[in-house]
């Protein structure tokens, strides 16, 4: 009976479906990565390996446009991730270490709001808002919108980490006459660092990747990488777009892997 009960956990075909699932998830990305190295003007025929489309990205006719878009994207992601991570860290401290209070549930609801409202609705609402208060659309409006929707993405890993830290550490510090501020900066903050780094990295990727909200709140002529790529793809998929996509894909994979390794190393301790 022991043998049989072990087998029971497995269903035939589930392993095949899992492999199929991973295949579907990765096939399109791998295909684009491979074709970005294609030495051909046409995207259909394979004519050998080359880096010409990567060179095209940096020196070609559209390189200036993409350079500016890339700089915009990275600057916005950097600031938005940092600002939202600071706010999320404070909010998590209040929600998880602030005892029971009236607005606790409401605060959590407000923080998760950007995850519940469909992105296109947030985009429309933000556009209407900026228009109504008479702010010119541009980099600043993109940045403000990004800070807002990055907060829940930064919050989730930070609060997950904080839930795993016993409150006795800060309490011990305060028993030894540390001020509340010291207990926060010297004890709680270092312990939370892996969660904070994960949260920052995830917020950074989410900001870097955003298309829909950015597309609504950007002014005419202001582009981030996704909006520039979208504009270009509308006229057909070109090889230089595949090269840019592959690089952006690489950035995301590296950052997610970092975030994962940081949280994992720490959990194994």
């Amino acid at each position: 009976m022991a043998m049989k009960s072990y087998d029971l956990r497995q269903y035939p075909s589930f392993k095949a479906i899992t492999i199929f699932c991973l295949f579907i998830l990765y096939a399109p990305l791998l295909v684009v990565t491979v074709y970005s190295f294609n030495d051909s003007v046409s995207i259909t025929n394979w004519e050998g390996v080359s880096l010409r489309w990567y060179a095209e990205v940096f020196t070609g006719a559209e390189s200036e446009k993409f350079k500016i878009a890339a700089r915009n994207s990275f600057v916005i992601a950097l600031i938005a991730a940092s600002a939202s991570t600071v706010m999320a860290t404070f909010a998590a401290t209040a929600i998880l270490r602030g005892g029971r209070f009236k607005l606790r549930t409401a605060s959590f609801g407000l923080i998760s709001l950007p995850l519940m409202v469909p992105e296109i609705v947030t985009a429309v609402a933000t556009l209407i808002f900026f228009n109504a208060i008479g702010v010119d659309r541009g980099l600043i409006t993109i940045l403000l919108a990004h800070i807002a929707f990055c907060i829940p993405f930064a919050y989730l890993p930070i609060s997950a980490r904080m839930q795993g830290i016993e409150a006795t550490y800060e309490q011990a510090a305060m028993d030894l006459y540390a001020t509340r501020a010291k207990a926060f900066t010297r004890v709680l903050l270092p312990l939370m660092m892996p969660g904070i780094i994960s949260g920052w990295l995830l917020a950074f990727i989410v900001s870097l990747d955003d298309f829909i909200i950015t597309n609504f709140v950007k002014g005419a002529g202001v582009e981030t990488l996704p909006t520039a790529i979208f504009g270009s793809v509308k006229q057909g998929i070109k090889p230089n777009i595949m090269a840019i996509s592959t690089m952006l894909l690489g950035v995301s994979v590296v950052m997610v892997t970092l975030s994962w390794l940081i949280s994992r190393r720490d959990n194994n301790k």
Binding site: V86, A94, L144, E170
Partner: protein, 306 residues
């Protein structure tokens, strides 16, 4: 989406209680000004009169909602007739999102279960492999999908080259391409919550059922599926809700005939149609739909927990 998640751990530490409102202030201010106020304002705009070429006139009007549901003829003075143009766009969106959710469930459930039955050390790596594609830019993933599925794309090359088909399949610009795109966009959302539920599943239940002569598939249907149902429901919502309002998959993979809510809304603000109150009304209807789904599921889950 953490809507259903609990707000904190079981321990109720009060270390930073005196500072709690100060600590929350930055998030409150940011989210109130940049999310809550704009959504309320959008609701207001949906009751205003449209100005041609975008913008609004500050005059109360129900015409945006009226236009959504009724046709009053070219000059607006015919008796109202229920008009299907926009309702059918919403219906198509619900259908497309539903099919994509079903596809994700059929692939996602076995995957999640398989991962949950791996040795504990392997699981994190499997979960990580499923998660990576989610963090890759959605636009890039959708474009990649289009590249793969094109008439002269690698998939058709493979199918024709291997002799399986004599002519390339036309997939792009069909409903199926959109379903496939949505499925591909949100598949990890299906796997993760089901995995979380399956990991907690007590396999002694399967063994007990088997000892009572239940077949493996009876165990699956009668014991396993009901046990992981909360995970399945969460996964379905996490796929269905973003699919419903998605813009990129229908826009890039669907073409003009496969219009969904997202494109309808976008067109009101970006395209030449430029009817802001109508766009705001369509957004309100979408938001209401989503909130109803989330509320019902939260109710259900609360009931299940008792």
């Amino acid at each position: 989406m953490a809507g259903g998640a609990s707000t904190g751990g079981s321990s109720q530490s009060e270390t930073f209680a005196p500072a709690r409102y100060w600590l929350l202030l930055p998030s409150w201010v940011t989210l109130t000004i940049l999310v809550l106020a704009p959504v309320s304002m959008m609701m207001g705009y949906s009751f205003l009169t449209k100005e041609f070429r975008g913008g609004v006139i500050w005059e109360f009007s129900l015409s945006a909602y009226d236009q959504f549901f009724f046709d009053r003829g070219l000059f607006g003075d015919d008796p109202p007739v229920l008009q299907w143009t926009y309702i059918s766009i919403f219906w198509r969106s619900i259908w497309q999102a539903g099919v994509a959710t079903l596809m994700s469930l059929v692939i996602g459930f076995p995957t999640a279960y398989f991962i949950a039955t791996r040795p504990e050390k392997e699981r994190a790596i499997w979960v990580f492999l499923v998660t990576i594609p989610y963090w890759v830019n959605l636009l890039i993933r959708t474009v990649s999908m289009k590249f793969l599925l094109r008439d002269q794309g690698p998939l058709n090359d493979l199918l024709v080259g291997s002799g399986l088909l004599s002519e390339p399949l036309t997939i792009v610009n069909t409903n199926f391409a959109v379903q496939l795109g949505l499925f591909y966009s949100y598949l990890p959302f299906m796997v993760l919550p089901i995995y979380a539920a399956a990991e907690r599943y007590n396999f002694a239940l399967s063994e007990a059922a088997a000892d009572l002569y239940a077949t493996r598939w009876t165990v699956l249907r009668r014991i396993l599926l009901p046990s992981v149902k909360p995970g399945i429901v969460a996964g379905c919502i996490l796929v269905f809700v973003p699919s419903l309002g998605s813009f990129l998959a229908p826009d890039l993979l669907g073409g003009a005939k496969n219009f969904m809510i997202g494109s309808l809304i976008e067109e009101q603000f970006k395209g030449n149609a430029g009817n802001w109150p109508f766009g705001a009304a369509a957004s309100m209807i979408l938001l209401t739909l989503v909130m109803v789904i989330l509320l019902i599921s939260a109710r259900q889950q609360a009931k299940g927990g008792k």
